[in-house]
Symmetry: C2
Subunit: 505 residues, 2 copies
C-alpha cells in the first residue's frame, strides 16, 4: 500500500514507523511487526500503531528518514515482511534449545543494527538470565560481539589489559596500574566505562585529567606512542552490542552471567589483548558475595580466555569496603595522583594497584614469578609511573604538568558527624554511592564523598564520619538530608532510631 | 529540575516523556527510569532519552499531556522517582520465586494502568512462559484480572458461557450455540474476540449481522432482555489486562499457559458466569496437538473454575480440519445462517454446535444428562434457535429479518483447481487461513475461502479445490498467486514441484 510520509522529527533509537490502527489492520500488521519501505531502496522498519497519525499516512521516525536520503520522499510503499530470523532464535532460547554459532551471530548482528524491538531484546536477556548459556554458546557470543564492531591489531606483542568486575566504590586503581605497566615497556590499551549506577567509572576519572573519547585508530596510535591509554569504550565502536544490551539489562537490574563474561572478554579481544588480569572484588554489596562465587567466575573467565587465545589471570580482592577514602571523580583523581606523586595515601589503594600490576608484569615477562609486585611498587616509588601517566595525559590531549593539588573538588561541603563514641560496626557501600550520586557524581566532577572512618576504626562523638562535596549547593543539601535520614556508617552504641510515641512505630 | 514543556502530539501508549541525554544525566535518570511530573498534581512517567529534544526541555507524549489538563503547562518540575514495586516482583519471577496474591495484584494493576515498560512487560511474559505458575498464582492472576476491570452481576442464575481455545479455522459455532441456549431460557452473555492471526473471530462474524461494541451495562441489559448477546470483548473494559499482555505475547509468538488459563477464566468470571463449556480443538495445527495435551488443559481449566466457584466442562473436538466449509466473515455467517434457517449445511458444523450446546443445556438444568444434544438439535430444527438469533440481532441493533441469501460475499472470485485426479491427502489449515487473510479477511467482510474438498474426499483433475472471495481485486490476485505458488491442499498423485534442470535444485 502507498502512504503519505510524515516525518516525525523524533529519534526512536531504531528504524521505526507509525501507522494509524485502521491502516495497520488494512495492511495486516500489528505493533512489532515489520514492513519494507520501498522507495529507491528497501528498508525494513518496525511498526508502531496509534490513532495520532491520519489514515493514509505513515509517520516516519528520524532514523528511517535519514536512511531514506537527504529528504524524506513524499509517498512511500509499505509491504509487510517477516521478522528477522533472530526472533526465531530467541524463541528457541525461550524453549531452552541450544543455539548454533551462526544463530548467535545473527542475534548479535541484529542487536547492533537495532533490528530488534524492546520486547524481543528483553525476551533475549530474560532467557539468558534464566537459563544461562553453555561454554560453546558463550564463546560464540563473545566472538560475535568482537566481530560486530571495530578491532585493533597491534604489530608488537604482548598486549596487556586489565578489567575490574566492579561493585566496589572508589576503585581508582587503573590510574595507577596503566602507567606502571606502560612504564615497564608493555603496551596497555585500556578502554573503560563511565559509571552507570556507581559514582565514578574509570572513564569519568580520567576525564578529569584529559579527553577520553577516541576512535579505535587513535587508541592504537596513542598506545604505540606512549605505551598506554585510558579511553572511554563507549566513544568507540568496539564491541558495540554491549551498550545496547545494557539498555535492556539496566531497567531489569540484571546482568546475566553469560553476557557479563562475553562483554568483558569481547572488549579485551577486540583491542587485541594477549594477557589480561581481572580484578574480582568479593564481599557483601559487590557483584560476587563469596569467595566460592569468585572462584567460579574466575574459572569461567580463564576458560573463556583460553578458548579465545588469551591468557587470563584473576585476582580476588576485598570488596566489602571502598578502595582508598574517596568516592567521586575529582576527589578520587586527587587521591590517586597524590599516591603517584608522593607515595602518600591509603594502603588499600597502593597494595591493590601494585598487586594487580605485579601480576600483569609477570604475565608480560617483565618480572619473574613472585617479583611482579616488587617491581610495580618500585615503579611507583621511583616516580616512573607518575611520569608515564603525565605522558599518557599529554598524548590524550590533557595538561601533563598537573599535580594532585591542582585538582578542583566541589566548593560546597558538608559533614556527617558521629552521634556517639565507638567503633564503626557497619559501613554501607551502596548508601555511600547513593549519597555521592545525590551530591552530583559522576556528572558533576567535583562531587563526591570523603570517608573519614572505615569499618573497624574508632571515632569520637562529633568527629566527622564523611565529608560530602558538591558543585551545586542544592545537591549538597539533598545529599546531606539523605545521609542524615539514614546513616551510611553505623557507630557502635549509636541510636538507630528514636521512637517518641507509640503511634510513630 | 524545572523543564520547558514541549507537547509531542504523539501517543506512546503509556505515560512517557523524552529528555535530552544531557538533561537525563544531569537529573540522574536513564531510559526506562521514572520521573514525577510536578505541576498542580503528581504524575509518574517513564523516561526516554534522545538528542532530538533541546536541553532544558521535556518532550511530553499525548497521554501525559491529557492527564495534565486541558492545556499542557509551559514548564514543569521533574523529580526522579523509583520504579513501581511490580518491577521488583517481576524480578522475583525471573529468580523463580513464588509471588504473593498482593504482588500479582500489583503487577496486573500496573499492566492495566500502563505503568510498565515494554522491557518489563516482556520480562514478565518471558518468565511466565519459561517457569509457568503454581495453581495458587494462576488463581490470583485470574482474580486480579477480573478485579482490574468492569464486572457484570446478574440477578438471575445460572449464567451460561462458552469459550473456544481456537486454532481451528471456520469455527463459527457460537452463532448457533448462543441462540440455542437462549432459546431454552438460559442467559448467555457471550463476549468474544476479533481475529488476531485468524481469518474471522466470533466478533468479526457477528458484526456482519449487527453492531458488536457494547459497554458492560449494555451487555447485561441485552442479555436480560433476549437471553443472549454476542459482543466484542475488546470494546468493553472487561478483564482489560489481557489485551495489554497480547501486545507483548504476539510479537514473541507465545501464549504462556498460565496466562491462557487466566485470560479465559477472567473473562468468564467478569461476566458472572456460573457454568462454562470450553471447546478444546485437538490436532495438528491447533494449539493442542494431542489428546493428552487436551486432557491436561481441561484438568487445569476445571480446577481453576472450581477455585473461582464456576462449573467448567470441556469438550475435546476434532481440530485438524476446518469446521464447515467456509473461512472468512461473510461466507461463514452465510453458512451458519443457512443451517439455522434450513438445517442444510455441513455435518461438522451442526454436530459440533449441538454437541457443545447440549453440554450447556445439561449444566444449566434444562436437559437431563445425556439428553442435552437432542434438545439442542430440536431447538435448531424447530427454527427456535433462528428466531432467537433474530431477536439477539435486533437487540444489538441489526436487521432481524436477515436471511442467509442476503449476506453479501466478495464480488471478486477465483478458483484453485485440482491438477490431478485423486484423494485429498494433505489439508493445510494454516495456509488456508493465510490465503483468506491475503484476500482481505477479517477486515474485508466479504473476503474468504470456500472449501470444496476436505481431507479424504476425492476430486477430479480440473475440479475446484477452493474458491477465493475478495472485496478488492488486487487482494484476490495476491491471494490466488500465493495459493498457486504453494497449494494448501495436496491431492494424491499431484506433482509437488517440477525440477527442470539440475541447477534449480
Amino acid at each position: 500500500m502507498e502512504f503519505k510520509v510524515q516525518s516525525l522529527k523524533i529519534k526512536a533509537g531504531k528504524y521505526k514507523v507509525v501507522l494509524n490502527n485502521h491502516d495497520a489492520i488494512e495492511l495486516g500488521v500489528r505493533g512489532g511487526d515489520r514492513v519494507l519501505l520501498k522507495d529507491h531502496m528497501f528498508l525494513t522498519a518496525i511498526v508502531e500503531t496509534g490513532d495520532m497519525i491520519p489514515i493514509g499516512t505513515v509517520g516516519v521516525y528520524q532514523e528511517c528518514c535519514e536512511k531514506l536520503g537527504d529528504q524524506c520522499p513524499l509517498t512511500i510503499e509499505l509491504i509487510p515482511t517477516s521478522k528477522p530470523n533472530s526472533v526465531g532464535f530467541i524463541k528457541k532460547m525461550m524453549d531452552h534449545q541450544k543455539l548454533t554459532q551462526e544463530e548467535i551471530r545473527q542475534i548479535v548482528q541484529d542487536i547492533v543494527r537495532e533490528n530488534l524491538t524492546e520486547v524481543e531484546m528483553s525476551a533475549f536477556v530474560t532467557s539468558s538470565y534464566i537459563y544461562g548459556m553453555t561454554s560453546d554458546e558463550i564463546e560464540w557470543l563473545t566472538r560475535a560481539m568482537i566481530d560486530s564492531g571495530e578491532k585493533i591489531e597491534f604489530n608488537t606483542h604482548p598486549i596487556m589489559d586489565k578489567h575490574s568486575i566492579g561493585g566496589v566504590p572508589g576503585n581508582k586503581i587503573s590510574l595507577l596500574v596503566v602507567p606502571i605497566i606502560a612504564a615497564n615497556g608493555l603496551l596497555i590499551p585500556k578502554t573503560s566505562s563511565r559509571a552507570i549506577t556507581g559514582a565514578a567509572g574509570t572513564a569519568d576519572l580520567m576525564e578529569v585529567l584529559a579527553p577520553v573519547e577516541f576512535t579505535a585508530d587513535e587508541i592504537k596510535n596513542i598506545t604505540e606512542k606512549v605505551g598506554g591509554v585510558i579511553a572511554w569504550g563507549g566513544a568507540t565502536n568496539i564491541a558495540p552490542a554491549d551498550d545496547k544490551l545494557i539498555r535492556v539489562e539496566y531497567p531489569l537490574s540484571i546482568d546475566p552471567r553469560c553476557q557479563l563474561l562475553a562483554s568483558i572478554m569481547a572488549k579485551k579481544g577486540a583491542v587485541g589483548a594477549d594477557c589480561v588480569v581481572i580484578d574480582i572484588p568479593v564481599g557483601i554489596g559487590t557483584k560476587v558475595p563469596t569467595l566460592d562465587d569468585g572462584k567460579k567466575l574466575a574459572r569461567d573467565l580463564i576458560e573463556l580466555g583460553e578458548r579465545l587465545g588469551m591468557k587470563v589471570e584473576c585476582a580476588m580482592t576485598y570488596g566489602a569496603s571502598p578502595v582508598g577514602r574517596t568516592i567521586g571523580p575529582a576527589i578520587e583523581v586527587r587521591e590517586a595522583l597524590k599516591v603517584l606523586e608522593t607515595m602518600q595515601g591509603p594502603n588499600s589503594l597502593i597494595e591493590k594497584s601494585t598487586g594487580l600490576a605485579g601480576i600483569l608484569l609477570e604475565m608480560g615477562g617483565v618480572a619473574t614469578r613472585g617479583h611482579g609486585k616488587d617491581i610495580a611498587m618500585e615503579t611507583l616509588r621511583s616516580g616512573k609511573a607518575f611520569r608515564k601517566l603525565q605522558e599518557i595525559i599529554e598524548a590524550q590531549g590533557g595538561n601533563p604538568n598537573v599535580s594532585h593539588t591542582d585538582i578542583v573538588t566541589g566548593e560546597h561541603r558538608g559533614e556527617l558527624s558521629s552521634p556517639a563514641d565507638g567503633y564503626v560496626i557497619e559501613f554501607d557501600n551502596k548508601r555511600i554511592v547513593e549519597i555521592a550520586r545525590m551530591a552530583g557524581a559522576p556528572t558533576d566532577k567535583g562531587a563526591g564523598v570523603w570517608i573519614h572512618r572505615k569499618k573497624g576504626e574508632t571515632v569520637k562523638k562529633g568527629e566527622p564520619l564523611i565529608t560530602i562535596f558538591a558543585d551545586k549547593s542544592w545537591k549538597l543539601t539533598q545529599a546531606l538530608k539523605s545521609a542524615e535520614k539514614e546513616y551510611p556508617i553505623i557507630v557502635e552504641g549509636m541510636l538507630l532510631e528514636r521512637v517518641q510515641t507509640f503511634k510513630s512505630i
